[in-house]
């Protein structure tokens, strides 16, 4: 790790100011992505702005027909939250399958979304549930938030403050973990809210998380696993690496989507 200056602001405004005026600064949330990269000397920010002392950035709340989760809320808190377990069990399960206990006790939802790792789980939740990402400046619909691999719509001095998940009628997430890293080799989140059906896929897309409209349309007609029979996602353009070829990933998307629909419908 290279030397850096550590800032520990107590408000989002302070944090945003520091971010705007410090050169080459980075926000530090749970540190589960950032710190390992720094230890390997692959990232060398001149300063870190630690969000952990800012009050009100963490917590889970049921507001009307939405669950609102503060950006600094740890994965373990989401997994263990009775509010989430009761109203949006798919999200609690997803959070409970991220990494290992150490990672879940430190990693945050804001950090995960801002990082937009193509194999991360939360992006599938945000896109698949039609979440809204709230920042210190604006609200961004999940459909507009994820712009590419490790790329988001966030501006240079923009900070995620919370995430709003509208409650679906049905939802399920099925993950096929990369055996080594436990990130998603492929993960599929399926949800139904009113007339809206979403199928979001993580782990497979060369540009990160994406929706499968063909599946969504088929499920519009009837929300059941059989509706997906005969449908598949083309392998072209999907990720291919030592853990899974594009063909294998394409196949898994179909399998996992059917399983997710079955779980959500059942």
């Amino acid at each position: 790790m290279y030397a850096f200056t550590l800032h520990r602001p107590s408000s989002v405004r302070q944090a945003a100011n520091l971010l705007a005026k410090s050169e080459d600064a980075k926000l530090l949330a749970g540190g589960q992505t950032l710190i390992p990269t720094m230890k390997q000397r692959l990232a060398s920010p001149a300063s870190l702005i630690d969000l952990s002392l800012i009050e009100g950035l963490s917590g889970i709340e049921l507001r009307g027909r939405s669950i609102v989760i503060g950006a600094m809320t740890r994965h373990a808190e989401v997994a263990d939250s009775p509010v989430v377990q009761e109203n949006l069990p798919a999200l609690a399960e997803l959070a409970g399958e991220i990494g290992d206990p150490h990672v879940r006790n430190m990693g945050t939802i804001g950090g995960s979304l801002a990082n937009n790792d193509p194999n991360a789980d939360y992006p599938a939740a945000a896109l698949g549930l039609g979440a809204t990402i709230v920042t210190n400046k604006r609200r961004i619909a999940a459909d507009e938030f994820f712009t590419g691999m490790f790329e988001t719509a966030l501006g240079a001095d923009e900070i995620v403050t919370k995430v709003m998940f509208p409650l679906p009628k049905k939802a399920a997430y099925v993950k096929f973990a990369n055996p080594a890293s436990r990130y998603a080799l492929v993960g599929v989140l399926v949800s139904k809210r009113g007339r809206e059906i979403r199928v979001a896929v993580t782990g497979a897309g060369a540009n990160g998380v994406f929706r499968v409209t063909a599946f969504e349309e088929a499920l519009q007609r009837r929300f059941g696993p059989k509706s997906l029979d005969g449908l598949s996602v083309p392998a072209a353009g999907l990720n291919s690496d030592i853990h899974g070829s594009a063909e294998y990933r394409a196949h898994l998307i179909g399998v996992l989507a059917r399983r997710a629909v079955a779980a959500a419908a059942g």
């Binding site: 080594a180 030592i242 853990h243 294998y248 196949h251 399998v255």
Partner: protein, 789 residues
């Protein structure tokens, strides 16, 4: 059996310190004035070093020195060596290329150390290491052993044309070919034994310290064999004469073979400590472990097994290319030869065996012994062949094995080894019972109802442990003897220290060795301590690997205890005023035979030191004896493992649903520790079969260079094991012990792959059988079936 004696399940004495954070590892050692080393490693698999500019690095804050291969050359340090001579078929000696501790003319694998920065702090050393400018001329590289000998392949070392280290053979080619010619059936397999990264939990580390007042060096080092390290560093590297070099291996957190070898980093730490006049400390980071710990396995093999009309094996032949990496590591040459081809008879009576092995250089990390070393590779060849043959011949795999088992002992195989004892039928029978082999068909139907594919696979393995005797090892090319030593030091108060040349790095010697002493002397186990891992304290030793410490190390203790008892009887005879021949030692008491006159152990120990009751002319005071034990044969642990899997055909995921292991390790010293070794061994074997593989790309970059991509087995990857034993005593050592440390890793891969291939009905699957690989094999199978219809 006493409560703490041989055969008792005694809790591990060493665990108190290990599980309360009180272990003392090399990284815990800190010396006054110590500096820190950071190695500059080649990012290229193969590159000429045109120049190294350390000017900028030397000026960085805290830098004490930047040293390169040129400095090593100035000090005339010798090369690292491989200590086992192998001769090719044509009689020529193996082609050992120079291996300097810091590369001098070229770097031969990614991670090859080319320079070292010594600084006040580790961070400063790392900062400066980035500033060392190495001018590389990148050369073409070869990483795939199957490509290494081809005409267009990069040429790595001048001494080894076509990258070929040796072309070795074992067995009778003419007779074997003849047996194949008249065979009724021949089974053929192409096998890749996947390359593994050892990944001991404690990364390697070294601290070198030089005392300019006395000219003595001390090396703290994560080694499985401190005396061998001292010998090599003294005799071959020429750093210091042996009597001025002390090697200390404190607690060592796992080795699996990877800490047997003498590595560049410890040599450099020691050498640099004299150069800079201060202690030099180096602790590997995990990424460095991936790029510098000797890897394991990496064989490409074509193997065939021939049968007569009755399903009897009449011959086996195999041709293997073994990847030894960029340099020949300490014992690398012996692994794919004498530790491999000698085991190709398995548990079977095979009259004709012939094996050819080409060892090759590639631009990869050196490859050497890793848990099982050669024997897992051999077992995989034999047990896959038998299983596939059974399927081809439509004979039950258990029945085919039974038909070919060796029943008569001793049994001379056509490949050197003479098995001394065993009962292969017994372990097979017990394993099949425990695994409910009979009920498998029903379980398979139940799985099918759930849309799952179920398979069962056997592995009837044998291994040869405690490589010996030294004379025989020497005649096969070993550069060292393979005996073990022990000193039993009785204190005046009757407590005992055992100085052993074995080295514990997870095996539990502090408990098992103490059990032996406790039983033999009738003293409490807490009154025995086991001392190991320091060349200034322990007389000498060959260290721990190859499941040798029970069979060889403990036998040495038995011999020393024999001598202690003999001497103690002499002391007792004076105390009891009886003839020495009339003294009987039992239950911690010396008694005059046929009387009730006795003295306890403690009194004899005390009197041995006070020497008040006998004259020094008659009997020397003291009670301390040393023994060097050289076995008369290998030991031959064997057993049968049964693996049962369930596969999800939609994803290719394999779940191991049942595992039965029935092993014959001879006499068990501590069944709990043995069971732990079996669990760990199987899990490592499951890792090889399902998860682990070191992958190099065509440019020689290690693609699986961290735990993000290299998959180690986790608890959820294995079921709760059913473990049973059968016992035939080992006739060649006093305790009847065979060894148990490697068995699981040897048996497991074949059992897993036999189960998977049974489930999917296709033999075309390589290790590791990842979900993708299994899914692909199922698709391929479906496609060929469709085409056939």
């Amino acid at each position: 059996m006493s409560a703490t004696g041989i055969g008792a399940t005694v809790r591990r004495k060493e665990d108190q310190r290990f599980i309360t954070g009180k272990g003392h590892y090399t990284a815990d050692v800190n010396r006054a004035g110590q500096t820190h080393a950071c190695f500059v490693r080649s990012p290229h698999a193969h590159a000429r070093i045109k120049g190294i500019d350390a000017t900028a690095a030397s000026k960085m804050p805290g830098v004490v020195a930047v040293l390169t291969g040129a400095d090593l050359a100035v000090d005339k340090l010798g090369n690292l060596i491989c200590g086992w001579m192998i001769h090719s078929k044509d009689g020529s000696a193996m082609k050992m290329a120079p291996h300097p501790a810091l590369a001098q003319t070229k770097a031969c694998h990614v991670g090859d150390p080319v320079a070292v920065v010594i600084a006040e702090t580790l961070a400063q050393a790392k900062d400066a290491a980035e500033k060392v400018q190495v001018d590389y001329e990148v050369l073409p590289a070869v990483a795939d052993p199957a490509q290494a000998q081809s005409a267009g392949a990069a040429q790595i070392h001048e001494v080894a044309p076509k990258n070929t280290i040796y072309q070795w053979q074992l067995g009778d080619k003419g007779k074997t070919d003849a047996a194949f010619q008249s065979a009724a059936h021949v089974t053929k397999l192409d096998i890749v034994n996947n390359r593994l990264v050892p990944n001991a939990i404690e990364p390697r580390a070294a601290i070198g310290e030089y005392d300019s007042g006395t000219g003595h060096f001390t090396l703290w080092n994560t080694t499985q064999n401190p005396h061998v390290a001292r010998l090599v560093i003294a005799a071959f590297i020429g750093m210091a004469p042996e009597h001025k070099l002390r090697v200390i291996a404190p607690d060592v957190g796992g080795g699996f073979g990877s800490k047997i070898f003498i590595y560049p980093e410890e040599v450099v730490a020691l050498w640099a400590s004299k150069r800079v006049g201060r202690p030099v400390k180096w602790v590997a980071e995990r990424v460095e472990s991936f790029l510098s710990d000797a890897h394991g396995r990496d064989h490409v093999t074509h193997a065939e097994m021939a049968f007569d009309r009755d399903g009897k094996v009449v011959g086996l032949r195999a041709r293997t290319i073994a990847n030894l990496g960029a340099y020949m590591s300490t014992f690398s040459s012996s692994v794919p030869t004498y530790l491999y081809a000698t085991l190709l008879s398995g548990q079977y009576n095979i009259p004709n065996i012939y094996c050819e092995v080409d060892a090759v250089y590639t631009n990869t990390v050196p490859v050497d012994a890793y848990r099982g070393a050669g024997r897992p590779e051999a077992t995989f060849v034999v047990e896959r062949l038998v299983e596939v043959a059974a399927r081809e011949l439509s004979i039950d795999p258990a029945e085919l094995r039974k038909r070919n088992f060796i029943h008569q002992f001793p049994h001379q195989t056509p490949v050197i080894l003479a098995y001394d004892a065993g009962d292969y039928n017994a372990s097979l029978k017990k394993a099949l019972e425990l695994a409910d082999y009979k009920g498998f068909a029903k379980r398979k139907r139940e799985s099918a109802r759930d849309g799952k594919l179920r398979g069962i696979g056997l592995s009837a393995y044998i291994e040869a442990c405690g490589l010996a005797p030294s004379q025989a090892a020497g005649s096969l090319g070993a550069g060292v003897g393979l005996w073990e030593s022990a000193e039993v030091r009785v204190n005046p108060t009757g407590s005992v220290e055992v100085l052993t040349g074995s080295h514990s790095h997870g095996q539990g010697h502090e408990t098992t060795f103490a059990q032996l002493v406790s039983e033999r002397l009738g003293i409490a186990i807490d009154n025995v301590s086991i001392v190991h891992g320091d060349t200034d304290i322990v007389q000498f030793g060959m260290g721990t690997y190859g499941s040798r410490s029970g069979a060889v190390g403990m036998s040495a203790i038995v011999k020393a205890l024999d001598k202690v008892e003999a001497k103690a009887k002499k002391v007792a005879s004076h105390l009891l005023e009886a003839a020495e021949g009339d003294i009987v030692f039992k239950d911690g008491k010396f008694t005059v035979a046929g009387t009730d006159r006795s003295v306890p152990w403690g009194d004899v120990a005390l009197n041995a030191y006070t020497a008040h009751k006998f004259s020094g002319q008659e009997l020397e005071p003291g009670l301390k004896e040393t023994s060097f034990y050289d076995p008369t044969n290998f030991t031959f642990p064997a057993g049968c493992h049964v693996c049962e899997v369930e596969i999800d055909p939609d994803t290719g995921e394999t779940e191991i649903v049942n595992w039965t292991a029935v092993d014959d390790f001879g006499v068990l010293v501590n069944p709990m520790i043995v069971e732990g070794q079996v669990h760990g061994g199987i899990t490592q074997g499951v890792g090889q079969a399902l998860l682990e593989r070191a992958i190099y790309d065509k440019d020689g970059q290690l693609v699986t260079g961290s735990f993000m991509d290299y998959c180690m087995p986790r608890a959820h990857d294995v079921p709760s094991f059913k473990v049973g034993v059968t016992v035939t005593k080992c006739p060649s050592n006093p305790l009847g012990i065979k060894g148990c440390g490697e068995a699981g890793a040897i048996a497991a891969p074949a059992a897993v792959i036999n189960a998977i291939t049974d489930a999917i009905g296709s033999e075309q699957i390589a290790m590791p059988a990842t979900p993708q690989a299994v899914w692909t094999a199922i698709q391929r199978g479906n496609a060929t079936r469709k085409a056939a219809e």
